[in-house]
Amino acid sequence: MNTVNISTYQLINYTLHLADTNLILAQRNAEWCGHGPILEQDIAISNISLDLLGQARNFYQYAAELINQSTNQPANFVTEDSLAYLRTEREFKNLLITELPRGDWGLTILRQFFCSVYQYLLYEQLQSGNDIQLAAIAEKSIKEVTYHVKWSSEWVIRLGDGTEESHDRMLKAIENLWPYTGEFFMAEKYEMEDIIGFDPDSLKIPWLEGVSTVLEEATLWSPAFGSGQGEKVFMHSGGKQGIHTEHLGFILAEMQSVQRTYPGAKW
């Protein structure tokens, strides 16, 4: 890899970060398949999972292309599959919020909502970014993410402004997930403006605006989440650099077990 220039190397890492984030969130959501609270919503979350998996594949395919072009050693060529199934925890660059256990339906909904609002803003920027292929993937993905934002927003409102039980569970979900939302906006080395075309921190205000509108309607908003006291909440980070919570290892163990046990197995 020593012949690869710095900007290609960072573009590869950034593309892998986008791919991993989508794959791990897809994998978590897929855990609901067959276990959703009602059939229609079981299908909805599985569909969202499928969209995310498809987006992950597009990013992995692009990352593989970049890696193979830069190494130019056919013996070591990677594929979308080898990137997903044969990399270790430390190599995954997904956001920490995506690897947290699925929790109850409220937590899954809230995570999807936080991530979808973020992805919408992110893809909006990437669409007009410096890299043509990332722009194309973003253009394709944003149409799907629009549905995810709408669906998850409606569910946050339904549950937050629902029964006492659902309201309490949503508050608990916010308490659990809020400290993981800061990572969206903390730029990693490969996310510098000259590589991706924008500063991740610039998404923070529009994200807070989008999220607060829905949380307010859901009777869940507290001014503490905003720029005031919310700043004092400790924000977890590390996922983008490959430093993860203990949960990622378990997901990878399950997801990669077939390829690890029967290398190269196809079906």
Partner: protein, 207 residues
């Protein structure tokens, strides 16, 4: 390249490759080359073949009806009578599992009709939209029991709890229908129920 030039056979191969390269350079939009009517006819012929390649999830729709065939690039194989080139398709949804199957079916259909050197590639931009679905396709969908996509994209509106658009029931033609779920049996469909005849049905949502 240097290695190839060593043998006479290699020289020919390199020459052919070069020829193809120039062909590609000079024909960005192959379907519009003046005087190249033979190629145009060939493209039309292949398009016709694609009317027999169906979406495995919705077997009444061909890939032409779906609007996923974006381009057909053809180049004559130098020194032979055949064609080589690329068929460019675009996915409906990023995660649609039918895409791999359709890509394979396209290849098989081409091979079946003697096109052995035509590749299938995929392009993401511009992103597929239901606006590219043919009118014939929409009629076939309705006859099959799936409500075709609305010409106006109301569902894509981001307003929360927006009243669901009036979708016509494919069974009794009533507009008195309700959205049950924005996500249906496949990525491209939403679930509706008719309030008149009570029939639940799929709606191929606009995208």
């Amino acid at each position: 390249m240097v290695g190839l030039l060593k043998s006479p056979e290699g020289t020919l191969k390199a020459y052919n490759n070069l020829n193809n390269f120039f062909e590609m350079m000079t024909s960005n939009n192959d379907n519009e080359i003046v005087g190249d009517s033979i190629k145009e006819m060939e493209v039309v012929k292949i398009r016709k073949l694609f009317e027999e390649v169906f979406d495995p999830e919705i077997p009444v729709l061909s890939i032409i009806d779906l609007g996923i065939v974006r381009n057909i690039h053809l180049y004559p194989v130098p020194g032979e009578s055949g064609w080589e080139g690329t068929v460019v398709i675009t996915p409906t949804y990023s995660g649609c599992p039918a895409m791999d199957a359709m890509s394979m079916d396209i290849r098989l259909k081409l091979i079946e009709h003697g096109y052995k050197n035509i590749k299938v590639t995929s392009v993401l931009s511009p992103a597929w939209t239901t606006d590219w679905m043919s009118e014939a396709g929409k009629e076939k969908l309705k006859a099959y029991g799936i409500a075709p996509p609305h010409p106006k994209q109301i569902v894509c509106e981001t307003k929360l709890f927006a009243e669901s658009e009036a979708i016509q029931c494919p069974a009794c033609n009533s507009y008195h229908t309700n959205l049950i779920s924005r996500f249906g049996s496949t990525a491209c469909k939403a679930l509706y129920q008719c309030q008149e005849c009570k029939e639940p049905f799929d709606y191929f949502k606009c995208h």
